[in-house]
């Protein structure tokens, strides 16, 4: 694999990254050349971003079709296989939807800065690299690329103390997690030398090879635990979830939507690859992962029940969704269920992205004139004012609750089957029971939005429709339903899941 071939294989990431740079400097350059910063920047930045994302997505699709085998780029630091390309596509989807949402949100909040789009693109680059990383150090750098952009996005509402507070909390805990991750990597580097004279390595495929042919060392396992903690923070799994509600509540809604999806998708892509590598030593960690899964599901769901703030509720629900996804992590230990677990996790990640983007997107849609629509009270009776938004919200809530015929159901069902195939019936039953609890609070949102009377008389809605946010929500909704009824991607994802074992 020469360098130019590696670069070629990495082209989707490069396209997104270069677009990010262009978007970043476009605005200052405009202020120099045309002495006008405000007017065209929104169009320039967002359309540039969308073009970049679209190009990258096209290229990724082309690669999926073109590459019959895994590409190990840059001396095996990155692996471009169907799995990473599929995750990249999910990430690009969420980025595109987030760009659409941001176009309206930022304008409503008088915050029309091109950096936001650049940050979206940079964090997407980080996420895509996380999915492709075949080396723990690359994973670390990618993780930080993702996180740093997200920290800034969380604090993007500079005049809001809540936004800044969210950014601070996210940043401190994220940096803490990064410390764990890096130290774990160091320990793995030391622990991967199973015998004297064998050098240390951080390459995941090398570690996998060594684990298949030798005993795991203590240092390796300790490092694995620390890396797990680090990634668990990013994925908001339960003992490491404290930041999630505060951050999602405080951050600008469009940023909450984006970070809820991207961070989780990327973290789970990394977790899947990492734990698959560690699967030969699963006796050490399977118990912990199971406990984390069950705790995440139940703690997330139970805490979500009492929330009045929808963003906060969605945050807790995202913890629960992380718990559902963790069952797939537990399931990859069984050789017979690996393929099913990977494809289930991939499908669920796509589902999660679409429905969370949609749910937050409806909040963005309803946030007009700088007022954030956040609480159940804000949502009361919006069906009379904004029937489309209310019904779309209902679709997303039902999908989040895993109720057919939506994508959420199919995803949950696939996870469920994978868990059973892996011989973990306890987890499967916990999954079912947790989604039962979840139904309650999702229904509360529908109740507030569709069933309750609004507090004040519905004002005549003469404002122009937030076009782009509407487009974003509608895309999410259509796919949530369509893929819930005809899950055509599953087969592709199965191939993607299997690509890991080639």
């Amino acid at each position: 694999m020469t360098n130019s071939q590696s670069l070629h294989a990495l082209l989707p990431v490069l396209i997104v990254g270069i677009t990010g740079i262009l978007v970043m400097i476009a605005e200052p350059c405009m202020s120099w050349w045309w002495q006008d910063r405000r007017a065209p920047s929104r169009w320039l930045s967002s359309s540039l971003s969308l073009i970049g994302i679209g190009l990258a997505a096209c290229y990724a699709v082309a690669q999926i079709n073109a590459y019959a085998r895994n590409i190990y780029a840059f001396n095996g630091a990155l692996v471009i296989d169907h799995f990473s390309l599929s995750v990249s596509l999910v990430l690009l989807t969420s980025a595109a939807l987030a760009v659409l949402l941001a176009m309206n949100y930022l304008e409503e909040h008088k915050l029309n800065l091109g950096e936001y789009y650049a940050l979206i693109l940079f964090s997407t680059v980080g996420g895509m690299l996380m999915a492709m990383a075949n080396d723990l150090i690359v994973l670390f750098v990618a993780l930080e690329t993702l996180s740093l952009a997200l920290y800034v996005m969380a604090g993007f509402l500079r005049t809001s103390a809540r936004s800044e507070e969210a950014a601070l909390k996210y940043f401190l805990l994220g940096a803490f997690a990064a410390g764990f991750f890096l130290y774990g990597t160091a320990l793995i580097y030391g622990g991967s030398a199973q015998a004297a004279g064998m050098g240390g390595t951080t390459s995941l495929s090398e570690i996998a090879f060594r684990l298949q042919h030798g005993e795991p060392t203590f240092l390796l396992m300790a490092g694995m635990a620390l890396v797990l903690i680090g990634l668990g923070f990013k994925a908001a799994l339960v003992p490491f979830h404290m930041w999630t509600p505060d951050v999602y509540e405080g951050a600008p809604t469009s940023a909450s939507a984006y970070m809820a999806c991207t961070a989780k998708v990327a973290a789970f892509a990394a977790l899947l690859r990492f734990l698959w590598v560690m699967a030969p030593a699963h006796a050490f960690w399977i118990g912990a992962v199971e406990i984390i899964a069950v705790l995440s599901m139940f703690v997330g769901n139970l805490l979500a029940i009492t929330q009045e703030n929808v963003k906060r509720m969605l945050a807790y629900s995202s913890i629960a969704h992380a718990g559902y996804l963790t069952t797939a992590l537990a399931a990859i230990t069984s050789t017979s269920a690996q393929g099913a677990a990977f494809s289930a996790a991939l499908f669920y990640l796509l589902a999660y992205t679409l429905m969370t983007m949609g749910a937050f997107g409806v909040l963005v849609y309803l946030s007009r004139r700088g007022h954030d629509c956040q609480t159940l009270t804000d949502l009361r009776g919006i069906v009379q004012r904004e029937p489309i938004a209310a019904y779309l919200l209902a679709i997303f809530m039902l999908s989040l609750g895993g109720i057919p015929p939506t994508m959420g159901f199919v995803g949950k069902w696939l996870l469920f089957v994978a868990t059973l195939q892996a011989g973990l019936p306890g987890l499967a039953i916990a999954l079912a029971l947790a989604s039962l609890i979840a139904a309650y609070y999702y229904l509360r949102v529908i109740w507030a939005a569709c069933f309750q009377e609004p507090l004040e008389a519905a004002p005549a809605s003469s404002e122009p429709l937030p076009t782009w946010a509407t487009a974003s929500i509608c895309i999410s909704a259509v796919f949530t339903l369509l893929l819930g009824i005809v899950p055509v991607f599953v087969n592709t994802l199965m191939t993607a899941g299997r690509s890991m074992f080639r």
Binding site: E144, E164, F171, L172, A175, A186, G190, G200, G250
Partner: protein
């Protein structure tokens, strides 16, 4: 020659101190410094292990993590400054608009 295990013990101690500091401290800057301590503990471990194995990788990784830490510093200080300008305090206990 100092045995590698000494370095590892040192790095573990630093890491534990950093972790404890993050959990105990109330000033974000102090917390942040503790996080840097954790990262540097990892760097020490990397360099020591790289030397132990006779590989250049360890030192290379340390430089990577330095770069990342620098980026983190920039972002972190920016956030802390922003919150101080809004709230006139950066004490974690007083920064509690978002209910726990």
């Amino acid at each position: 020659m100092v045995p590698t295990s000494y370095y590892l013990v040192l790095s573990a101690l630093l890491f534990i101190i950093g972790t404890a500091g993050v959990l105990v401290r109330r000033n974000p800057i102090q917390i942040f410094m503790c996080v840097e301590l954790m990262l540097n503990a990892a760097n020490i471990a990397f360099v020591a292990l790289g030397r132990h194995f006779g590989q250049i990788n360890g030192q290379m990784y340390a430089i990577f993590s330095l770069a990342v830490a620098a980026a983190e510093v920039s972002v972190g200080l920016g956030i802390i400054v922003a919150i101080f300008r809004l709230r006139e305090t950066i004490n974690i206990d007083e920064v509690n608009l978002l209910k726990q």
